[in-house]
Amino acid sequence: MPKIHVQTRINGEDIDFLCESRQSLLEVLRDDLGLTGTKEGCSNGNCGACSVLLDGVLVDSCLVLAVETAGREVATIEGLATPSQLHPLQQKFLEHAALQCGICTPGFIMAAKALLAQNPKPTEHEVRYWLAGNLCRCTGYDKIVRAVLDAAAVMEKA
């Protein structure tokens, strides 16, 4: 099976890679590009651990073929913090102890980023509705929802 040459942008950088058409974006990010911050939980779109932004839209990278990203913009957890500072969501997740094992955290933070970009002052229900596609088994979600609401307040003021 000949590999396909794909040119795309990841976290603001032009990236090109070779991949088979059956390789998912998740697989290429993790195995070929070494961006292992995006995690695999189920590989069939049911847990959100592999959430990334594709042209600003929140998607499961396990259900996107890597070839589909040609000419498009991918944003992953590795692109969120600036060299000197964590993103407010990352900081609030830490302050609220909104993670325990942390495997679902990158997915939740990317999902919350997409939410706040579209709805800067969400209610608790709106946060819960938006994040229902992200499963967490350690925290019971309480502190995750509080961290997102707190980050929204901080970002609103900034």
């Binding site: 088979e20 059956r22 993790r30 195995d31 070494g34 961006l35 292992t36 911050g37 995006t38 995690k39 695999e40 939980g41 189920c42 590989s43 069939n44 049911n46 847990c47 651990a49 992953t76 957890i77 590795e78 969120l80 913090a81 964590l86 990352q90 997740f93 830490l94 302050e95 609220h96 102890a97 993670l99 325990q100 094992c101 942390g102 495997i103 679902c104 955290t105 990158p106 933070i109 608790e124 946060v127 819960r128 509705y129 994040l131 229902a132 596609g133 992200n134 499963l135 967490c136 088994r137 350690c138 925290t139 019971g140 979600y141 309480d142 502190k143 995750i144 929802v145 509080r146």
Partner: protein, 768 residues
Amino acid sequence: MAEATAEYKVIGTRPIRPDGADKVTGRAVYGGDMRLTGMLHGKVLRSPHAHARIKSINTAKAEALPGVKTVITVKDFPVAEDRMANLGEMAVNVKLLSNNVMAADKVLYKGHAVAAVAATNAHIAEEALGLIEVEYEVLPPVLDVLDAMKDEAPLLHETMTTTELGQKTDKRSNIANHMRFLLGDPAQGFREADVVIEREFDTATVHQGYIEPHNATALWNEDGHLYIWTSTQGAFVVQRQAAEILGLPVSQVSVTPCEIGGGFGGKISVYLEPVAAVLSRKAGRPVKIIMSRIEEFEATGPTPASHIKVKMGAKKDGRLVAAEASLMYEAGAFPGSPVGAGCMCIFSPYAIPNMQVDGYDVVVNKPKTAAYRAPGATNAAFASETVVDELAEKLGMDPLEIRRLNGAKEGDRRVDGPTFPRIGYLETVHAALEHEHYATPLTGPHRGRGVASGFWFNVGFQSTVVINVNADGTVSLVEGSTDIGGTRASIAMQAAETLGIPYEDVRPTVVGTDGIGFTDVTGGSRTTFATGYAAHEAALDVLRQMQERLARRWDGEMEKEFEGQAERATVRITPDDVTYANGVFKCAKDAGKSMTFKEVTAQMARMGGPITGRATSQPRGVGGAFATHIVDVEVDPDTGKVTILRYTAVQDAGRAIHPSYVEGQIQGGVVQGIGWALNEEFVYNDNGNMVNSSFLDYRMPTTLDLPMIETILVEVPNPGHPYGVRGVGEVPIVPPVAALANAIYRATGKRMTQSPMSPGYVLSKLME
């Protein structure tokens, strides 16, 4: 940051965890992130049958597929000896453990491993699985505990006989073990009872549901040394189990624990590590295997489905006088369900003079069960706490009042014999009674409030900690406890408190089997308790060494100052003369002499060299934990769907070291209990195939299914720990199933005797 309680500077505060930045930026390395030069990808071929004899395996076609480097079956494993070995939390039969990792002559559950492939990429490995030809002689499966217990049931293990009340018999059966606990005279107790309730309950198989799939990367070198990288709750357990299965000395197996994406008891025994190891040896290259979510459900270690009978009797005034229970737990393909723990927990919140509890460990054609957070206790509490609720109703008593009246306290005896040390159960009941949630009446149609209590022993086990002192006054703490719930922070906090230095000055590092002394699993709610204990002792060791160094330094100075004054020169300074408080060492015999912790570290090179404190712990005085939960629900009468309006969990934490992570453990345990209660179950078809092995149809709670989970930390310090710590991780999962059953009853008038209480089940009860 909340300021510390008056008593402590660090304990009780909520600092940021030291590994936090790596986890929120995606830099933390989990087992699945491992990449080694020349690494191959492994896949496991799993049985499509729930019960079959393996006639033959032909791997020729698979081996011929381009990209495939090697294929293995059980023939590539050393013959496992049929003997017991202490391989983790408790003794395990090596032959059964090995047969679960790779089937020998029989497959005992759908998903049982029969072969494995290593190839240049996972897709090719997967294709190769389809080319392995296995000839099976399919046998009838048995899938339900009651069916399996019948004499005519198909036998999983031809040679297994029942151990009946501790006596090995020669009765061949699927019942591996029948145990009994007895206290007082239950028959007499029931005669004295004014009210007796007897009910039967069924619970379905449920899974830990950790989001990170099992993974293992192995490199078996040409020099015979085996390196393993894996996400595990216990690197030393993986080391021992792999060594036993592969016939290696423990020193020849180095296990590096990567970050772990959740375990809850499910990542203690090995599944992939020995397979990756044998693939690596045969291929001569490192091999990584990652389970799919389907494999997680069908081939790891769920918690047992069970059938439970409970009978309890009380006097008119509400005093419980007699209790009997019979617990039948599915062990899965191999014996060893947590029915013993279930028997010992079922009535533990109560002081009852007459109790008999029978436990049955029964094999069925399902994956071998593994621990799942207070293993065996949730099933049992569902039964007993529902009957206690019914007794309270029959006697016209408030359900918390009957619990307060009968609550166990120090000196009361458990059914398995020992009496309770200082415990905090009644404190949780009082806190629940006085809480605003319980005081606020629940109004509105189809609504109900339920309460339930739970107990878990917690364990101590073994831990090792080393503290290396740096010249700038900071320390690096080395430990073997993998950090799942923020224990790097709770352990560093205890070391900082003892050393009298800021939390930020303690840098904890989790290392593997080559980096620290033996350390048991992160599990059993033990890590903050036992590894924290060792951290405290290692810190005391550091301080002792500093006192010795200072005594020598000050003694020398004393001699210089009193030169020529004969009688004064006889004054000697010993380590006992050196006191330490609030970060400052002082000399009892000379107020002028003092040095801060930082100053001592700066001088180490001229005061005897590096200082390393170390301690191992196998603490006694393990403090058991109790919880009492309150839940309000609304049930849609048209659909049977349960909505949780409010949930409050009260728990005795002994002393909360890092309150945020104690709250997190409680909230996480409650939500796992809610999933167990409402929608989680393994659904099997008639020939033993699980039909809902995905996160789509194995329904764990989402953000939208829950309110905030309120937590009330009751602190009855555990005398067995320097800072009063009790394990907190497991007990929160015990009450929820029962609390929800009682709430649904109050909302619908229908007693729930089955979990999960799915909408379909509740609807069928409403339509009765």
